[in-house]
C-alpha cells in the first residue's frame, strides 16, 4: 500500500513538475540529454518500487 501511495505521489508530482523537463531544449549550457537522464532515473525508481512491492505482497 505504501508503495502505491509513493507511486501516486510520484506520478502526480511528476505531472506538476514536468514542464521543467522542456526548459533545456534551447538553453545554452544545458546537456541535450538531460530529459532522458531524468526519465531514466524515474524508470530505475519504478523498477525499485516494483521489486519492493513484490516483497511487500509476498
Amino acid at each position: 500500500m505504501y508503495v502505491y501511495r509513493i507511486m501516486l505521489l510520484l506520478v502526480f508530482g511528476g505531472y506538476l513538475l514536468s514542464p521543467l523537463l522542456m526548459s533545456g531544449w534551447a538553453s545554452p549550457g544545458v546537456a541535450w540529454y538531460r530529459p532522458f537522464v531524468i526519465w531514466g532515473v524515474l524508470i530505475a525508481l519504478t523498477l525499485w518500487l516494483e521489486q519492493k512491492r513484490r516483497l511487500d505482497e509476498r
Binding site: 545554452p28 541535450w32 524515474l42 523498477l47
Partner: protein, 986 residues
C-alpha cells in the same frame, strides 16, 4: 527520391511477408512456447502504442514544440507507472467478466447496451483520424522515396495486406477475450523492428552527421542555437494538457485496451510493464531530437519534405531511407492490425449484434467469425478512405490530436467507473454526449470542411480565445463532460443493477453478492434453457465449457455452484457477443426464482473472492482480512465438527474435523442444500435443525460399517444489522465416551462380582477349615488304612479348595498401585504356576498345553498380586488365541540387568495395524463381546509401574505364526525400592 517504386514495394511487401512467415512459425509451434510466451513478448507487444506518430509524428511535434514531443511518451509512461492502482483493476474486471473492449466495460458497468453503442461510436470516430494518420505516413513515405504520383494506391495495397494479416491471425476465434500468441508475437516483432530502426537512425545522426555527443552539444550551443530559437516551446498548461491526453490514450485507445486487457497478460507482466514499457518508449524517443538536429545541421529547413519525414533527409543512402521506411511501416501496420481487431469486436458486439440479436441459426460462431473478418477489413479500408478524403489535407499532428482529444472523452467515465460508485448511466451518457459534441463541433469542421471549428468558451475564459483549437477543445470538452457526469449522476436515480455493477467495478468496492435461487436446478436444465436461445449444440458447448472452467461435474445441483455456473456462462458469452447480449440471454433464459425468497449474502463467494484478491487489500482492510482469516482458520481447524447453514438452508461452512468424521470434502458440499447432503447427514442434520431443543445426544450413526455415537449442538444465528442469519451445528463424536461408559458399567459389575467372590471365599473358608480339621481328627482317630487314605484325600482336596479360595481373594484384591507396602521378592515361576492354576479354573481351553519353563531364581522385587494379574491376562490371551493342541510356553531367564519373561503361543498372531496400538485401552483382537480391550492396557501399566518394559513379537523368532509377549523386569530394583520405602521395611 533515390529508390524505384518496385524496390520500395518489394521492401514493404517483403517485410510484411516475413512477418507473415514469422507469425505462421509461432502458430505452427515452430517457435518454442517459452519464447513466444515470454513476458518480454507481451511487454514488446504493448509497444503497439508507438504508432506512426512515434516514428514520424513525434519528429513533426519536436520540430514545432521542442521537448513537447515527449508528452506522447511520458503520458503513457505515467499511466503504466500507476498500473497497480489504475490498470490492474481494469484488468481484473475485464478478465472476471470477459470484457474485451472499452465499450464492453462501460456497458457492463452502466448496465446498458446503448452505453456500449455510444462508446463504440465515439471510439470509431476518434480512431478514424489515427488510422488515417497511419495510412498517410505509408503514402507519404512511398511518395517521398519514389516520387511516384499515386501514393494512395500503394497505401491501399499495404492496407489490403495488413487487413489480410489481421484476419488471418487475429480473427481465428469467435471469442475476443482469447490468447492470441501469434498476434502478440507478431506485434512484438514489429515493436522490436521499429525500435531497432529508430536507434539506427538516431545513431547515424549522432555519429555520422555529428561527430558524437560532444560535437552535437557544441553545435547546439553554437550554430544550432539560432535554429532552435525559432521553436516555440509549449507553455506548462498546454504541456500538461498534452500529457493528460496521452495518459488517457494509454488505456482508452482501442488498440491499447486490446493488448493490455483483452489479451491475457498476467498481472505480474502488467506490473513489470510499469517500468519496461517506459524504458522501451525512452529508447524510441531518444533518436527523435537526434534525427531532427542532424537534419537541421545538414541544412534542411522543413519546408521541402516536412519535419515528420526528416529521417529521410539524413542521407540519400538507400539503406538509411529503407530503414526509415521500415520503422514507419512496422509502427503503422502494428497499430492498424490491433486497432482493426479491437474496433471490429466493438462494432460487432455493440452495433451489429444489438441491431441484429443472435438467433438459433446454425453455425452461430461461424457467422460471428465471418462477420468479424468483414468488419476488420471494413475498419482498415475505412481508415484508408478517411486518409484519401480527409487526411491528405492535414498534417500528422492535427490528425493525431483530433483522435486523442476524442478518445479522452471516455476518461471521466472510466475514472468514475473505477473510483466513483455513485456515477450512473444517465450521468455518464450525458457527460460523454456533451463532451463529444464539443469535440465534434470544435475539431471536426476544420478537418472535413474548410470551415473553422465552433468553440464556445465559457464566461471568464475569453482571453484563451487565441490558443490552439485542440487545447481549447480539450479544456472545454473535458470540463463540461466531468461537470455533466457529476451533476446528472447526483440528480438522477441509480438502478439496483447499476449499483451492483458499480460495486463490482469499484476499486475499493465492498463486494456483497446476493444469493438468489435459480429456476434451473442442474447443468442439464441449463442446457435445455440455453438451447432456446443459442441452439442445442452451442448451448451444450457453452455449459460444458463453463463446467470445465469451474471444475464442476455435469451432475452438479448445488445452488451455489449453479450460481457460479450462470455467472461463468454469462462471462463466456460476453467474450463472444459482448456483455449486453450475454446479459440479455442469461437474464431471459436462466432467470432467478421470483417466489419471494429473501436474498441473502453469498458469504462463501465473498470469502473466495477475498482470498483471491488478498494481495490487493491494504491498510485497515488488510488487517481486518487478517482477522477474518484467523477466525476462519480457527473454525476450520476446530477439533470438533462444525457446519453452518444460511437462512435459506444452504450449507455455508463444513470444517476440517467434520470432513474427517464424515469423509466428505467441504468443497463438494458447501453451497448445497441440507436435504441434498449424502446419507445419513442430510437426515441427521435435518433432525437437529428441526428439533426444538438445541441438542441431540449420542445419536447412533453407522459410518464406514462402524456404529458411532454423535452428539449434535445447534445455535441460532440471529440476523442482525448485517443480515447474516442462519444456524450453526456442532457435531461431536462421543463413541469412545459411550464405550468408556459401557466399560465402566461393566467394570463396576465385575468389581461387585469380585467383592461377592471374596465374601463367598471367606464364607467357604470357615467350613473348609472345619472339614480339614475334621479330616485331621479322623486320621488321629483311626488306623484303618482305607479311612486314612480317604482322610488324606479329603485334606488334599480341602487344601486345593483353600488355595483356590486364596487365589480368588488375592485376585479380587488386585488393582492397587504398586507400592512399597506390597513389594517382595517374587519368583516368576511361582507366579506363573499360580496364574496357570487360575487359568485352568476357567474350564476353557483345557486342550491347550502350557509349559512353565521359568527359572525359580533370580527373583524380582514386585507386587505378587499385580504380577499375577499380568500373567493371568497374558496366559488368558495366549489361551484364547491358541487352537486345540497348541502349546503355550512361558519362560523367565536373566538377561543382563533384566529378568526376561516371555509368553509364546502358536496362534494366528497379531495384525500389524493392531499391534501398534495394542496397549491402548479398548483395543482387542477378539470378536465383539468377548474381550474388553482393557487387559493389555492393564498389563502395560503394571509393568511400567514395576520399572519394566514390554514388547511384542508376532510371529515370534523362529515361528511361522503365533505371538510372543516379552516382559523385562529390573533385577536391581531391590535397592532402589528399599531406599524409597524407609518406613515400611526398616
Amino acid at each position: 527520391m533515390t529508390l524505384s517504386l518496385s524496390a520500395v514495394m518489394l521492401l514493404g511487401i517483403g517485410y510484411l511477408g516475413l512477418l507473415f512467415l514469422g507469425a505462421l512459425a509461432v502458430e505452427r509451434g515452430w517457435v518454442p512456447a517459452r519464447i513466444s510466451r515470454h513476458p518480454a513478448v507481451y511487454i514488446l507487444a504493448l509497444g503497439v502504442y508507438a504508432s506512426a506518430w512515434a516514428t514520424y509524428g513525434s519528429l513533426e511535434l519536436a520540430g514545432r514544440a521542442g521537448f513537447g514531443y515527449l508528452a506522447y511518451y511520458l503520458g503513457v509512461a505515467g499511466a503504466f507507472l500507476l498500473a497497480p492502482v489504475l490498470l490492474v483493476p481494469i484488468q481484473r474486471l475485464s478478465r472476471a467478466y470477459q470484457l474485451a473492449s472499452l465499450a464492453d466495460l462501460f456497458a457492463f458497468r452502466f448496465r446498458s447496451r446503448w452505453v456500449g453503442s455510444l462508446v463504440t461510436l465515439v471510439s470509431l470516430l476518434a480512431v478514424l483520424p489515427l488510422l488515417a494518420l497511419q495510412v498517410q505516413t505509408l503514402g507519404d513515405t512511398i511518395f517521398l522515396m519514389t516520387g511516384t504520383g499515386a501514393p494512395w494506391l500503394f497505401a491501399l495495397v499495404f492496407c489490403v495486406l495488413i487487413a489480410l494479416f489481421a484476419i488471418a491471425f487475429g480473427a481465428r476465434h469467435a471469442r475476443l477475450h482469447a490468447r492470441h500468441d501469434t498476434l502478440l508475437a507478431a506485434i512484438a516483432v514489429e515493436s522490436l523492428v521499429k525500435l531497432v530502426a529508430m536507434l539506427v537512425l538516431g545513431t547515424y545522426a549522432l555519429f555520422v552527421v555529428f561527430d558524437g555527443p560532444a560535437d552535437l552539444q557544441a553545435w547546439l550551443d553554437g550554430p544550432g542555437r539560432s535554429v532552435q530559437a525559432g521553436i516555440e516551446q509549449l507553455d506548462p498548461t498546454r504541456w500538461r494538457t498534452l500529457l493528460l491526453l496521452f495518459f488517457a490514450a494509454a488505456f482508452l485507445m482501442p488498440h491499447m485496451f486490446h493488448v493490455t486487457f483483452a489479451e491475457t497478460l498476467s498481472r505480474r507482466t502488467l506490473l513489470q510493464a510499469a517500468w519496461s514499457l517506459p524504458l522501451f518508449l525512452l529508447l524510441m524517443a531518444l533518436p527523435i531530437p537526434l534525427i531532427l538536429w542532424g537534419t537541421q545541421r545538414l541544412g534542411e529547413d522543413g519546408a521541402g519534405i516536412g519535419e515528420a519525414y526528416y529521417a529521410f533527409a539524413l542521407s540519400d543512402a538507400a539503406w538509411l531511407q529503407g530503414t526509415a521506411f521500415i520503422a514507419g511501416l512496422a509502427a503503422a501496420s502494428g497499430t492498424m492490425i490491433v486497432i482493426s481487431l479491437a474496433l471490429s469486436g466493438m462494432i460487432l458486439n455493440h452495433l451489429v449484434l444489438v441491431a441484429l440479436p443472435p438467433g438459433k441459426q446454425l453455425g452461430l460462431y461461424r457467422w460471428l467469425r465471418w462477420l468479424r473478418r468483414g468488419l476488420i477489413a471494413a475498419v482498415i479500408l475505412g481508415g484508408w478512405l478517411f486518409y484519401r478524403l480527409v487526411g491528405v489535407k492535414h498534417d500528422l499532428t492535427t490528425l493525431g490530436l483530433v483522435a486523442f482529444v476524442g478518445m479522452a472523452q471516455c476518461l471521466p467515465g472510466m475514472l468514475a467507473l473505477l473510483y466513483w460508485p455513485g456515477a450512473n448511466r444517465k450521468g455518464m451518457v450525458s457527460g460523454l454526449i456533451v463532451g463529444s459534441l464539443i469535440w465534434l463541433l470544435g475539431l471536426w469542421p476544420p478537418l472535413v470542411t474548410a470551415l473553422p471549428g465552433l468553440i464556445l468558451l465559457p464566461p471568464g475564459l475569453e482571453e484563451l480565445a487565441g490558443q490552439a483549437p485542440w487545447y481549447l477543445v480539450t479544456l472545454v470538452s473535458l470540463t463540461a463532460n466531468i461537470l455533466t457526469l457529476i451533476l446528472v449522476s447526483l440528480a438522477t436515480h441509480t438502478s439496483a443493477g447499476e449499483r451492483a455493477a458499480a460495486e463490482a467495478c469499484s476499486v475499493d468496492a465492498v463486494i456483497r453478492p446476493k444469493r438468489f435461487p435459480l429456476i434451473a436446478t442442474s447443468g442439464e436444465e441449463f442446457k435445455q434453457q440455453l438451447a432456446r436461445a443459442l441452439g442445442e449444440d452451442i448451448a451444450e458447448h457453452e455449459v460444458e465449457r463453463a463446467l470445465t472452467d469451474l471444475g464442476l461435474s455435469p451432475q452438479e445441483s448445488r445452488p451455489y455452484a449453479l450460481r457460479r455456473l450462470r455467472d461463468r456462462i454469462q462471462a463466456n458469452l460476453s467474450g463472444r457477443m459482448g456483455p449486453s447480449v450475454a446479459q440479455d440471454i442469461v437474464d431471459r433464459f436462466l432467470p432467478y426464482r421470483g417466489d419471494g425468497i429473501a436474498a441473502t449474502e453469498d458469504i462463501h463467494f465473498v470469502e473466495s473472492r477475498l482470498e483471491a484478491y488478498r494481495t490487493r487489500l491494504t491498510g485497515l482492510a488488510r488487517e481486518l482480512d487478517g482477522l477474518r482469516r484467523y477466525h476462519r482458520h480457527t473454525l476450520a481447524r476446530l477439533p470438533v465438527g462444525l457446519c453452518a447453514f444460511g437462512e435459506d438452508g444452504e450449507l455455508l461452512m463444513w470444517n476440517d474435523a467434520l470432513a474427517t468424521l464424515t469423509g466428505i470434502d467441504g468443497d463438494s458440499v458447501i453451497g448445497a442444500r441440507r436435504d441434498n447432503l449424502p446419507a445419513p447427514w442430510g437426515e441427521l442434520l435435518g433432525r437437529i435443525l428441526a428439533d426444538p431443543h438445541s441438542r441431540l445426544y449420542k445419536q447412533p450413526v453407522e459410518l464406514a460399517g462402524e456404529l458411532r455415537h454423535l452428539t449434535l449442538h445447534k445455535a441460532e444465528l440471529d440476523a442482525g444489522e448485517d443480515g447474516h442469519g442462519g444456524k450453526v451445528v456442532l457435531i461431536e463424536d462421543h463413541s469412545e465416551m459411550k464405550w468408556l461408559e459401557d466399560e465402566l458399567v461393566h467394570a463396576a459389575r465385575l468389581a461387585s462380582i469380585g467383592q461377592l467372590a471374596a465374601g463367598v471365599a471367606h464364607e467357604i473358608g470357615n467350613p473348609i477349615t472345619g472339614i480339614s480339621s475334621l479330616a485331621q481328627n479322623l486320621r488321629y482317630d483311626t488306623d484303618d488304612p482305607r479311612v486314612l487314605e480317604t482322610a488324606g484325600q479329603i485334606q488334599q482336596l480341602t487344601e486345593r479348595v483353600s488355595r483356590i479360595v486364596a487365589s480368588l481373594v488375592g485376585f479380587a484384591h488386585g488393582g492397587r498401585h504398586v507400592s512399597g507396602h506390597t513389594l517382595s521378592a517374587v519368583s516368576m515361576a511361582d507366579i506363573t504356576d499360580e496364574a496357570l492354576h487360575l487359568i485352568h479354573l476357567a474350564r476353557s481351553g483345557e486342550d491347550v498345553v502350557f509349559e512353565n519353563r521359568c527359572l525359580v531364581e533370580p527373583r524380582v522385587l514386585g507386587d505378587a498380586q499385580r504380577l499375577l494379574q499380568v500373567m493371568v491376562n497374558l496366559l488368558g490371551n495366549a489361551r484364547d488365541a491358541s487352537a486345540a493342541g497348541d502349546r503355550v510356553i512361558i519362560e523367565a531367564e536373566p538377561a543382563g540387568e533384566w529378568l526376561q519373561v516371555s509368553v509364546t503361543d502358536e496362534g494366528e498372531g497379531i495384525d500389524d495395524s493392531v499391534r501398534d496400538r495394542l496397549f491402548e485401552p479398548f483395543t482387542t483382537t477378539k470378536p465383539p463381546g468377548e474381550g474388553t480391550g482393557l487387559g493389555m492396557a492393564l498389563v502395560y501399566s503394571i509393568i511400567v509401574e514395576h520399572g519394566g518394559k514390554i514388547d511384542i513379537n508376532s510371529p515370534p523368532p523362529g515361528q511361522a505364526t503365533g505371538t510372543q509377549i516379552c516382559l523385562w523386569l529390573p533385577l536391581n530394583r531391590q535397592e532402589v525400592a528399599h531406599a524409597d520405602e524407609p518406613d515400611s521395611d526398616r
